[in-house]
C-alpha cells in the first residue's frame, strides 16, 4: 500500500506551473508518476510537495513545425507509438517506446518524465541522442531556452534543469531522406524490463560514403552517451563493421544487479558490429 502526505499543487496552465515552480523550487514535478511512485513506494523519496503537471494542456501535443517535430513534455509512450508523424520521422523512437514497461506504464509515462528522471537506462534517451533532439526548458523569470540533448545530461541523474525550470517540449529535426536508423534494447526479458544496455544508431550515406553517424548507448555509464570515436571513424568512408572495436575508447561500462561490466562491453560492441554488418550488406 502506498501513502504519501505530500501537498499536491495542480496548475492548469503553463504560466501557473512555472510560477509555482519558481515560488516552490523544492517541489517535485509529477507527470505520469511511473518513476516517482516507485521511488515513494520504496521509501527512497518522501516529497512534502508535488507539482502535478498532468492537467497542463500546453505540455501536450505532437506536431510538425518548420522542419522540426515538436513533442510536448507530457507526450506519453502510447502517443509516441500511435503517431503516424513519428512513424515516418522517428521510427527508432517509436521502437524504443514499444519496449517500455507494460501498457499501463506506457499510458502514463511521458517523454518529459523520462528525461527529467535521467536514469541512464531511460528507454527514450539513445534515440533522442541519435536523432539530435533539442530539449526546451521554461522558467517564469527567464522564459524558454533550448538545450541540445547531449548537453542536457550532466551526471548520474543530474540534468541541466535549474531549480525553477520545467521541461516544456522536445524537438526532433525532421527526417532527411536516406537516413537509416536502428534501435536495440538488450533487457532482462522480452517485456516489462529495464535495459542492461540499449543502442540507437543513425547513418546518412551518399554514394556509399557515410556522411553522418550518430551512435548512442544507454545504461553503460552514469549518463546516456554518444560513441564519438566510432562516429568520426565511420564518417567519410564506406560502412566498415570492424570499426565497432573502437567503441572501447568511448565506453566504460558499469556492473550492477542487472548485468556485468564485461557483458555490457562485449554486447555493446557486438550489437554495433551486427548492425554495421547488416548495413554493409
Amino acid at each position: 500500500m502506498l501513502t504519501s502526505h505530500a501537498e499536491v499543487l495542480s496548475p492548469r496552465t503553463l504560466q501557473e506551473a512555472l510560477a509555482l515552480k519558481a515560488s516552490h523550487p523544492e517541489t517535485v514535478a509529477l507527470a505520469g508518476g511511473t518513476d516517482l511512485m516507485v521511488l515513494i513506494e520504496a521509501n527512497k523519496l518522501d516529497p512534502s510537495r508535488v507539482l502535478n503537471l498532468w492537467g497542463v494542456a500546453e505540455l501536450r501535443g505532437l506536431d510538425a513545425q518548420d522542419g522540426w517535430i515538436r513533442l510536448g513534455a507530457l507526450t506519453t509512450w502510447t502517443e509516441l507509438i500511435q503517431s503516424p508523424l513519428l512513424a515516418s520521422h522517428a521510427p527508432a523512437l517509436v521502437e524504443a517506446a514499444r519496449t517500455c514497461g507494460a501498457a499501463q506504464i506506457r499510458n502514463r509515462g511521458t517523454l518529459g518524465g523520462n528525461l527529467a528522471n535521467a536514469s541512464p537506462a531511460g528507454d527514450s534517451l539513445p534515440p533522442l541522442l541519435a536523432l539530435d533532439a533539442v530539449v526546451e526548458l521554461g522558467s517564469a523569470k527567464r522564459g524558454l531556452r533550448r538545450v541540445p540533448i547531449e548537453r542536457f545530461f550532466l551526471g548520474y541523474r543530474k540534468t541541466a534543469l535549474e531549480r525553477d525550470e520545467l521541461i516544456t517540449a522536445i524537438y526532433l529535426p525532421a527526417r532527411v531522406e536516406g537516413d537509416e536508423t536502428f534501435f536495440r534494447k538488450v533487457g532482462t526479458r522480452r517485456a516489462q524490463s529495464i535495459s542492461k544496455l540499449s543502442f540507437c544508431g543513425r547513418v546518412r550515406r551518399q554514394g556509399g560514403q557515410v556522411t553522418l553517424a550518430r551512435l548512442a548507448f544507454g545504461a553503460l555509464g552514469p549518463v546516456p552517451l554518444r560513441a564519438h570515436t566510432v562516429e568520426v571513424a565511420l564518417e567519410g568512408g564506406p560502412v566498415r563493421p570492424q570499426l565497432a572495436e573502437l567503441l572501447l575508447n568511448d565506453i566504460r561500462p558499469i556492473a550492477d544487479v542487472r548485468s556485468t561490466a564485461e557483458y555490457r562491453q562485449r554486447v555493446a560492441v557486438n550489437v554495433l558490429r551486427g548492425w554495421l554488418e547488416t548495413l554493409a550488406g
Partner: protein, 729 residues
C-alpha cells in the same frame, strides 16, 4: 448422468477470483485490528547485546514483543526444534526476526519497527556451503550437517571397465514468487484462544507450531483464499502465524501481518542451491555401468525441511535410468544464510538437472546421440532403481516417443522478433534439446503410512460436504475432489461442496505437498464416497443408487463417514539403508524444447516447448494441463532468468520484481502439452501426482538446446545471457 471425472470442468474458485470477490487475507477487515511489523537482523551472525526502544518516539499505541514475551516455547516446531520464533542471544542469518511491533496502522507499525534499536556484537559468519563442514563456526550440531545419507546398489568399486566420465553441476537459489505475498491475520477468541486466517498450504503444520509457541491448543487455523504457494507457504506461515498470534495475545486485539514483496523476497525460504558431482563409468555402447554421486545442498541457518529435500535429491539423482551399480552420498549443511525450504520439486530439480546434463556429457564423450543414449538406458518394466525398487509400468519411453513424434509432426512456429530491434533471424542460432525425468509421487518410503491422511464426508439433504485439511492453492483440488465424489456417487456436481479449510472442523489430511493431494488424498476422497454410499444403504436397509436414497432420507442428523489412507501393503522401505520402494509410483515426463540464441547478446528466445507427461489419469485435463504449463514456465525461469543476487552476508540484493526476473507471457514459448494416461492402480481412477514433475525437466533440455545452437556447454543455473555469451566458443 454426465461422466464428470476426466472432464475439463472449470475451477470452482475461478469466478470469485476473476471478479475480485474472493477474500485474500489482506481483504479481511476486522474492527480494531492492529498491523504487525518485524524487526530483523542486519547481521549474518552476531550476539544480541540489547534491545531498546527509542524513548523520543511515541509508543503509546504500539505493542512490542520480544522473545521474553513468548508464553510457551521459543521454537517453530517442524522437524527439529532449532529455529526460534524470535532470536534470543544470537542471530544466525540476516533478516532473522528479533522483535515484533503492532500499531493501529501499517505505516505506524513500520515506523515503530525502525525505532526499535538492537545492539549487536558481530561474529564471524559462514556463508559458503562448501566450507560448512570443515570450518568454524558451528551452526548446527557438531559438524554443521542437517542431514547426511548414503545409498548403495551393488558395488561401484568393483566396476573398473568402460570409460570414466566425471562432471560437476551447480544450481542457485530460486524464489517461489507466489503472486500474493505471505500474510496472516490472528484474531483472539472469546475462550482465550486464537484463530489464525492466512495464506497457507498446510493448516495443521501451523497448529502444531503454534501449540508449542503459545503453550496451549485453544487455536484453529483457517486457510484464506491463497494466491499461490509452490512450497513457499509450506513452512514459513508457521513463523508468521506465531508472530501475529504473539502480537494479538499481547495487544488483546486482532493483528494482521502482510509482508511487502521486498521483505518477502529477503526473509522467506527459497529453493536450495546445490552442487552435484557425478563420477560414472559407461561402456563404449553407452550402457550405464556405475554412478557415484555426491550431492551437497545449502540449508541456510535452520533445519526447516532440508532433511526431506536432500532425501528427494538423493533418490532422483540417478535420473529415470538403469544403472548397474550406484553409490549416492548426499548432505545438506548449515550456513549463516536465510533458511532454504520447500519449493515445487523439493530437491529433485537440482538432482535432475545434474544427471541430465551428465548424460549429455556422456553422449558428447562417446559421440552418441543424446536422445538415443537416453532411450537405451531408460528404466524398463522389471528393472531396478538405485534403491532396488522393481519398476512397474514405467512411462519414460512412452513420454519420450510421444514428445518426439509431436516435435516432428508440426512445423516450428516462426521466430518472433525481439521487441526493440534484433529481429534479424540470421543473427539467432536455432537449437533443440530433449530431457527425460521421473518424479516420485507422494511421500518417500513409509511417509504416507505414518501420516494416515483422513477425509470426512457428510450428507445432509441433497448435499455432500467434503471435509479435508488439504488446501487448494491454485492447483485445483477444490474442484477435483467434488468431481471425484460426484462421479463415484453418480450425483450432480452441484450437490457437492467443500467445507472451509478450518482445522476446527476438517481432519488432518496431511500437508498439501509432494504431488500427493490428488493422488493420495483424492484416493481417500474416493474411498470416503464409497463408504458414504455403503452407510446410506445400511441406514436405509436396501441397496439402491445414492441419489435415490439421499432424496428419500428422512433423518435430521447428517450422515457422516471418515476414511483414512490405506497404503499399499506390498510396499517395503528400509529408512536406515535407503533400500526398497522409495515411492508408491512415479510420474514420467519428456521435454522437447526449441529455442534460438542471439549470437550478439546470448539471449535465448523460446519457440516451442513440448512436454509429454505420464500422469496416470487426467482427473481434469484442463487443470492438469495448466499445472504442467505453469510448472514448465517456472522451470524456464529457473533455467535462464532467475538469479538471487546476494551480498557477502547472504542478503538478497535484487529484492524487487524489476530486478528479480521471472518470465512474462511474452517470454513464454508456444506450449504443446501431451497427457499420457498410464494408470496407477493406487490412485483415484488411476491418477498419479503431477504438481512437481514439470519443474524437473525443462532446464536440462534448455541447456542441451543452447549447446546444440552455440557449442556453449553450461553446467550452472541460471544460464543467463552473460553466462551463455561467456561460454560460447
Amino acid at each position: 448422468m454426465a461422466q464428470l471425472i476426466g472432464e475439463s470442468i472449470g475451477r470452482v474458485d475461478g469466478p470469485a477470483k476473476v471478479s475480485g470477490r474472493a477474500l485474500y487475507v489482506d481483504d479481511l477487515h476486522v474492527p480494531g485490528c492492529y498491523y504487525g511489523a518485524t524487526v530483523r537482523s542486519i547481521h549474518a551472525h552476531a550476539l544480541i547485546r540489547g534491545i531498546t526502544l527509542n524513548l523520543d518516539y511515541d509508543w503509546s499505541d504500539v505493542v512490542v514483543v520480544t522473545s521474553v514475551d513468548i508464553p510457551g516455547e521459543n521454537v517453530i516446531a517442524l522437524m527439529t526444534d532449532d529455529q526460534p520464533a524470535l532470536a534470543e542471544q544470537v542471530v544466525r542469518h540476516v533478516t532473522e526476526p528479533i522483535a515484533l511491533v503492532a500499531a493501529p496502522t501499517r505505516e505506524k507499525a513500520l515506523e515503530a519497527a525502525r525505532n526499535v534499536r538492537v545492539e549487536y556484537q558481530p561474529l564471524p559468519a559462514l556463508i559458503d556451503m562448501t566450507r560448512s563442514q570443515s570450518e568454524d563456526p558451528r551452526i548446527f550440531g557438531r559438524d554443521n550437517v542437517f542431514k547426511k545419507l548414503e545409498l548403495r546398489l551393488g558395488d561401484v568399486k568393483a566396476v573398473q571397465g568402460g570409460v570414466l566420465i566425471e562432471g560437476e553441476y551447480n544450481v542457485g537459489h530460486q524464489e517461489q514468487l507466489y503472486i500474493e505475498p505471505q500474510g496472516v491475520l490472528a484474531v483472539p477468541r472469546e475462550d482465550g484462544g486464537v484463530t489464525i486466517l492466512g495464506s497457507l498450504q498446510c493448516p495443521y503444520y501451523v497448529v502444531k507450531a503454534l501449540t508449542r509457541v503459545l503453550g496451549h491448543d485453544k487455536l484453529n487455523v483457517v486457510q484464506a483464499a491463497t494466491g499461490g504457494g509452490f512450497g513457499g507457504k509450506e513452512e514459513y506461515p508457521s513463523m508468521l502465524a506465531a508472530h501475529a498470534a504473539l502480537l494479538a495475545n499481547r495487544a488483546g486485539r486482532p493483528v494482521k501481518m502482510i509482508y511487502r514483496r521486498d521483505e518477502d523476497l529477503r526473509a522467506t525460504t527459497k529453493r536450495h542451491p546445490a552442487r552435484v558431482k557425478l563420477s560414472t563409468r559407461v561402456d563404449e555402447s553407452g550402457r550405464l555401468l556405475s554412478l557415484d554421486a555426491d550431492v551437497l545442498m545449502d540449508g541456510g541457518a535452520y533445519n526447516t525441511l532440508s532433511p526431506v529435500v536432500i532425501s528427494r535429491a538423493a533418490l532422483h539423482v540417478s535420473g529415470p535410468y538403469r544403472w548397474e551399480t550406484a553409490h549416492v552420498r548426499a548432505a545438506v549443511v548449515a550456513t549463516h544464510s536465510p533458511p532454504n525450504g520447500a519449493f515445487r520439486g523439493f530437491g529433485a530439480p537440482q538432482a535432475m538437472f545434474a544427471v541430465e546434463r551428465h548424460l549429455d556429457k556422456i553422449a558428447r564423450t562417446l559421440s552418441i546421440d543424446p536422445v538415443e543414449l537416453r532411450r537405451m538406458n531408460l528404466l524398463r518394466e522389471g528393472d531396478l532403481t538405485v534403491t532396488g525398487q522393481v519398476v512397474k509400468a514405467p512411462g519414460g519411453l512412452l513420454a519420450l516417443d510421444a514428445a518426439l513424434a509431436a516435435a516432428d509432426d508440426a512445423p516450428l512456429p516462426p521466430l518472433s522478433p525481439i521487441p526493440g530491434g534484433g529481429g534479424d533471424a540470421a543473427r539467432r542460432l536455432p537449437g533443440r534439446g530433449v530431457s527425460v525425468v521421473f518424479h516420485g509421487c507422494g511421500f518417500t518410503g513409509n511417509g504416507e503410512a505414518k501420516i494416515k491422511s483422513k477425509v470426512i464426508l457428510e450428507l445432509f439433504g441433497e448435499r455432500v460436504r467434503v471435509l479435508t485439511g488439504s488446501t487448494d492453492i491454485g492447483q485445483g483440488t477444490d474442484t477435483i475432489f467434488p468431481q471425484i465424489v460426484a462421479s463415484i456417487l453418480d450425483i450432480p456436481l452441484s450437490w457437492v461442496e467443500m467445507a472451509p479449510h478450518d482445522t476446527a472442523i476438517v481432519p488432518d489430511s496431511g500437508p498439501t505437498v509432494a504431488s500427493r493431494t490428488a493422488m493420495v488424498v483424492g484416493g481417500v476422497v474416493d474411498a470416503a464416497a464409497r463408504k458414504l454410499h455403503a452407510a446410506l444403504q445400511a441406514e436405509a436397509k436396501r441397496p439402491a443408487p445414492f441419489a435415490e436414497l439421499a432424496r428419500a432420507r428422512r433423518a435430521r442428523a447428517p450422515l457422516r463417514v471418515e476414511a483414512q489412507h490405506q497404503p499399499d501393503p506390498t510396499l517395503r522401505w528400509d529408512d536406515e539403508r535407503y533400500i526398497g520402494d522409495a515411492y508408491p509410483t512415479y510420474a514420467w515426463m519428456a521435454t522437447v524444447v526449441d529455442l534460438a540464441v542471439d549470437i550478439d547478446t546470448g539471449e535465448v528466445t523460446y519457440r516451442r516447448l513440448i512436454t509429454a507427461t505420464d500422469i496416470g489419469f487426467a482427473l481434469n485435463p484442463v487443470l492438469a494441463t495448466g499445472q504442467i504449463e505453469g510448472g514448465a514456465l517456472q522451470a524456464l525461469g529457473w533455467a535462464t532468468f532467475e538469479e538471487v543476487v546476494t551480498d557477502g552476508k547472504g542478503l538478497m540484493l535484487n529484492d524487487r520484481l524489476t530486478n528479480y526476473i521471472i518470465p512474462t507471457a511474452a517470454d513464454a514459448p508456444e506450449m504443446v502439452t501431451l497427457l499420457i494416461e498410464n494408470p496407477y492402480a493406487g490412485g483415484p481412477f488411476g491418477a498419479k501426482g503431477l504438481g512437481e514433475i514439470p519443474m524437473d525437466g525443462p532446464a536440462a533440455a534448455v541447456a542441451q538446446a543452447i549447446e546444440a545452437a552455440t557449442g556453449a556447454v553450461l553446467n550452472r543455473l541460471p544460464m543467463t545471457p552473460e553466462r551463455v555469451l561467456e561460454a560460447t566458443p
